[in-house]
Amino acid sequence: MSISNLVHKIRDGELSAEKHCRETIQNLKARDSKYHAVTRVLEDRAITAAKQLDQKIASGRVVGSLAGVPFGVKDLFDVQGLVTTAGSITLNNNAPASNDAEVVRRLCSEDAIPVATLNMDEFAYGFATENAHYGTTCNPHDTARLAGGSSGGSAAAVAAGMLPFTLGSDTNGSIRVPASLCGVWGLRPTQGLLPLSGVYPFAASLDVIGPFAQSVADIRVVTEIMAGRKFEYKDDVDNLKVGLLGGWFAQDLSADLQSGMQKILQSCPITCDVTLPEANKARAASFVITAAEGGNLHLPRLKTTPMAYDPATRDRLMAGALLPASTVIQAQRLRNWFRDILHSVFNEVDILMAPATVGIAPRLDQPTIMVGGKAVSARANLGLFTQPLSLAGMPVLSAPLPPSEGNQKSMPLGVQFIAAPGKENMLLAFAEKLERSGLLGFPVASE
């Protein structure tokens, strides 16, 4: 059910918010043992909020535009009264959050109801959601495969149909990679559009937060509320110029991914090929900036409580803390150079398209992907195509391709659509058109 339909049913009294909330929580408890997407169920808070909402509706008072819609948040969003873990045990002695994260507050002010916190890679450092403390999140379309990360719990909860929307964060691709592998929509909005207050940082100069949902309309309504403004788009989306990113973004792609992108291009009247120079160096810059900022952030704890970290996270953060300043500064200079190149591309095209990952979700027992003929770690490399694009701060929508023809059981694949900064309106309108025409969209996983 879409968010809009759910809200209408609750507002019209067809469905009690409390009943829906209880069913959602019961469903999470019954089904999540297969996926390990959920870390904490917020039962008392959620039921209390749902009861209050039902009373508001019964008394004829105006209710919010997300009335009774349950949602979950990645474990790095502050939830009042809970310790924000960021997927780790090293923060367990921190005080509970005194307030909700600002975007959670904005959603609750429209009567949405937070019902769960969701699994992630420890401190968001990974593309796999393999968490030594809270378990590995499985892909709802095939539980023998990874959900992707670092916002894997958020993507899996939506893909399994357990929640209509969830929140995640994206530093190098942590929304786009799991959205792609789980067959859901995920938006990395323009950097700075959504407030980060109450969100545990990873690499502050790259961090962005955004939603996962089952449709573009759901992504739109949730993002608008979090941004505090509407994304109206009145122009025609039929004649936008769409550029297909080649070069770095054309390597090692699966045949189904290439075919899906070609079908989209064939539906667009004006297309072109675009090659971004030095995309491999841009990815390297993103890698280095993240390692350095993450390493610096955690250095005090790495000195005092190193053994509380997942060993793989600890080793990566320590290596990042050791990076020389001149290299990090060079990476930030390269970032500015690359941003200018990307912005100039948008003088010529309206939308860019690129794959989100090289192929389908890797198996849990073989967490590698093939790049340049070599098997490399999925945890470190699934962001091959997302990392360069993180540098420039543009809005990027991860969109699911439909199941491959004649194979409704095929695994999801995702593409990235990129627009100029602040052009979420055009990006979402364009994606809605493709979704309506059946060129984008993947069904919820069957139980």
Binding site: K281, A285, V288, L302, A319, L323, R335, W337
Partner: protein, 61 residues
Amino acid sequence: MPENEITVKDIMVIARQIGLSIPEQSVAGVLSNSQLLRGYCDLICSMDLPDDCPPAYEYRP
């Protein structure tokens, strides 16, 4: 060993400069990650950038 290969001695020297003690269990992992990062650093530093290209502090898209 290649000339620019990072060694355990290298990472221990830098770690000491920032007051970090690397646990024995992590030495191999930190070394491996440092070598990976070195590859990325070499790529970045091979790029000639104009003097008037500043770092992206206070980044705005």
